[in-house]
């Protein structure tokens, strides 16, 4: 167990280390590289940005779980979690690559997000009138940073942006509704898939 990492990474329990071929080992190393270089830093950034207490991702036989220290921030607030300060930092590991990655990837997200393990919420960038994107329906696939709607502030449209890759879920406000800054607007079903989390797919 790499105790120095802020995450518990566990090998698939059915794989015995001494029974593996060189190819399997190479595949394992590649997976570990991907884990430390891409997935972990991205997850740490997300944990930091959301204020969640714990985050877990499963893929194939792998499972990665990140937890805040017991004395860390309380779990998500009941009211308007989108408002949490982005100053809540991701846990700091002692592993160099994790720290480096956390530094580079812990950029402030343009759209602050409130997230559970499987859903994220796009929030309003301004106080004004909400207009959804007509060509996007529930079930549409969106990528982090995609424009999913707009808020009109004195006739000027400000983009509502998807905070994560995922599937467009239900809308929490109607077209033409007045919304305040930071208000939750659209649910994005979060895809717990590292391939889409690291954003290299397109």
């Amino acid at each position: 167990m790499p105790g120095s990492l802020p995450a518990d990474s566990q090998r698939p329990p059915d794989t015995a280390a001494d029974a593996r071929t060189a190819d399997e080992r190479a595949a394992d190393h590649a997976a570990i590289d991907r884990l430390t270089e891409d997935l972990l830093p991205a997850l740490i950034a997300k944990l930091g940005a959301t204020g969640l207490g714990e985050l877990e991702v499963r893929e194939g036989g792998w499972r990665v779980r990140l937890r805040r220290p017991a004395d860390g921030q309380p779990p998500i607030r009941s009211r308007r979690p989108a408002e949490r300060s982005t100053g809540d930092r991701a846990e700091r590991g002692t592993d160099r690559s994790t720290e480096r990655a956390a530094r580079t990837l812990h950029r402030p997200l343009e759209a602050k997000t409130a997230r559970t393990q499987s859903r994220a919420v796009a929030t309003s960038p301004a106080v004004g009138i909400y207009r959804p994107r007509a060509d996007l329906a529930v079930g549409a696939r969106v990528r982090a940073g995609d424009r999913v709607g707009a808020v009109d502030i004195l006739g000027v449209a400000q983009e509502v942006v998807a905070p994560v890759d995922g599937i467009l879920g239900s809308s929490l406000v109607e077209s033409g509704d007045a919304v305040e800054y930071g208000q939750e607007i659209l649910v994005i079903e979060f895809t717990p898939n590292p391939a889409s989390t690291n954003g290299t797919g397109g």
Binding site: E83, A126, V127, I153, L154, A178, V179, E180, Y181, Q183
Partner: protein, 456 residues
């Protein structure tokens, strides 16, 4: 009167405006930044709307955010409070363009009084003595030196825009003047986006006395007397009182009447304050006009019984004043203590944190305007004003006595405040004799001032 007002401010003044709205039976919406979500005005409001992040530039100072908030909540007027957008004529104009009413002077009036030098010239033309100063803005260093020579040293270098002491320097010699001009220009440019400077004669032992006026849309005005704001630290007011101990009743009345007459003649509208410097011999010089409700307005309210915020709203709604000068009576003496989250023993360094315990004093003649409560976390993003303690007494000594008791009773645990400087003032001979000038604290330094009070 308005149906629904957006309160585009925070802290104690947002609370003050909310109370005025309720008194008038007007609905109110508190506009707030993310940094003020847990604040008292938001908690007490029937309706509140988040207009942006804690950064004031993107919330309280954002004209589009404020106006959009007023429109989507169905307000018909915006009260800007003080600071932020309260004297921004561009904002007032855009508010009007959206069929909303700006609670304050109309944009055209704000524009007329936007330049301090221009205002001095304008009101000077209507009979107010102005402090000797440079002819217009300083063109260059040579012009500055010539003008300073003509006025006579010491002179005060002042930026045309803004206030609060930024970009201001007092100089006693041509050499000093030359060395500060560049600093003043860059400070003024950074703070107000305008580096125009002018000079003013510096009065070494001066007092700061201001006159409160209220003028309706029909040119009918009253004055509500003066306030003495001589207790300052680096041009920031700390304590205000009325009536001023510096002038006789006849002189005070003369000052107030002349101020009102000039303001009416110059076309001023709504509540406003004309500031004067008063020298040792009782000569007064007009310096500037504040086109907004002021922090220290409660001093006048407890002295006259007039609700100035309600009056401001009535005038903006187009109502006539409904009273004449004869209806205004001045009773007793009032003192306001500004309670700031500042450490007087460490250069008035601002402090932020959680108010662990809060208790507001009470009793006869005691008023507290504050947004504090036990458990409130003072955000670090805004100014350090925690509230105002206002005491009234039938005369100055009884007001001072009530002030001592109230300051002693006030509890704000968890933060460092400037309460000790007020207690020191109430033990200071010069203050007790009513002879304080604007340099009372700066002359000896606040630390020495505190130490002297502790020995007394």
């Amino acid at each position: 009167m308005f149906r629904k007002v957006l309160i585009a401010n925070r802290g104690e003044i947002a609370l003050r405006i909310l109370r005025a709205c309720r008194t008038l039976g007007v609905e109110a919406v508190v506009a707030y930044s993310e940094g003020d979500r847990e604040s008292l005005p938001v908690g007490l409001a029937d309706e509140a709307i988040c207009i942006g992040p804690a950064d004031a530039k993107r919330s309280y100072l954002s004209a589009p955010a404020v106006i959009s908030a007023a429109l989507v909540t169905g307000c018909d007027a915006i009260h800007p409070g003080y600071g932020f957008l309260s004297e921004d004529e561009g904002f007032a104009e855009v508010v009007a363009a959206h069929d909303l009413t700006f609670i304050g002077p109309p944009a055209s009036v704000l524009e007329r009084f936007a330049s301090k030098a221009g205002t001095r010239q304008l009101l000077g033309g209507f009979g107010l003595p102005t402090i000797p100063g440079s002819e217009g803005m300083l063109r260059d260093d040579l012009h500055a030196l010539d003008e300073a020579e003509r006025i006579g040293y010491p002179v005060l270098v002042k930026p045309s825009a803004g206030g609060g002491g930024k970009g201001m320097r007092m100089v006693r010699t041509p050499r000093e003047l030359e060395s500060v001009l560049r600093v003043c220009r860059s400070e003024a440019k950074a703070a107000f986006g305008d580096d125009s400077l002018y000079l003013e004669k510096w009065l070494d032992e001066n007092r700061h006395v201001e006159v409160q006026v209220a003028i309706d849309r029909y040119g009918h005005g009253i004055h509500l007397g003066e306030r003495d704001c001589s207790v300052q630290r680096r041009h920031q007011k700390i304590l205000e009182e009325a009536p001023t101990p510096a002038m006789s009743d006849a002189a005070r009345t003369d000052l107030a009447e002349r101020a009102l007459k000039a303001a009416v003649a110059a076309g001023y509208q709504n509540v406003g304050t004309l500031e004067f410097l008063v020298d040792r011999d009782g000569n007064f010089y007009f310096i500037e006009i504040n086109c907004r409700i002021q922090v220290e307005h409660p001093v006048t309210e407890v002295l006259t019984g007039v609700d100035l915020v309600a009056m401001q709203m009535r005038i903006a709604a187009g109502e006539p004043l409904g009273m004449t000068q004869a209806d205004i009576a001045f009773r007793g003496h009032a003192i306001e203590f500004r309670i700031n989250a500042e450490d007087p023993e460490h250069e008035f360094r601002p402090s932020a944190g959680v108010v662990e315990r809060y208790h507001a004093p009470g009793g006869p003649g005691v008023r507290v305007d504050s947004h504090l409560f036990t458990g409130y976390e003072v955000p670090p993003y805004y100014d350090s004003l925690l509230g105002k303690l206002i005491v009234w007494g039938p005369d100055r000594p009884s007001a001072i006595a009530r002030g001592r008791v109230a300051l002693e009773e006030l509890v704000i645990d968890g933060l460092v405040t400037n309460v000790s400087i007020h207690q020191a003032l109430l033990a200071n001979e010069t203050f007790l004799e009513g002879k304080m000038t604007t340099n009372l604290l700066d002359r000896v330094g606040s630390a020495a001032f505190l130490a002297a009070a502790a020995r007394a």
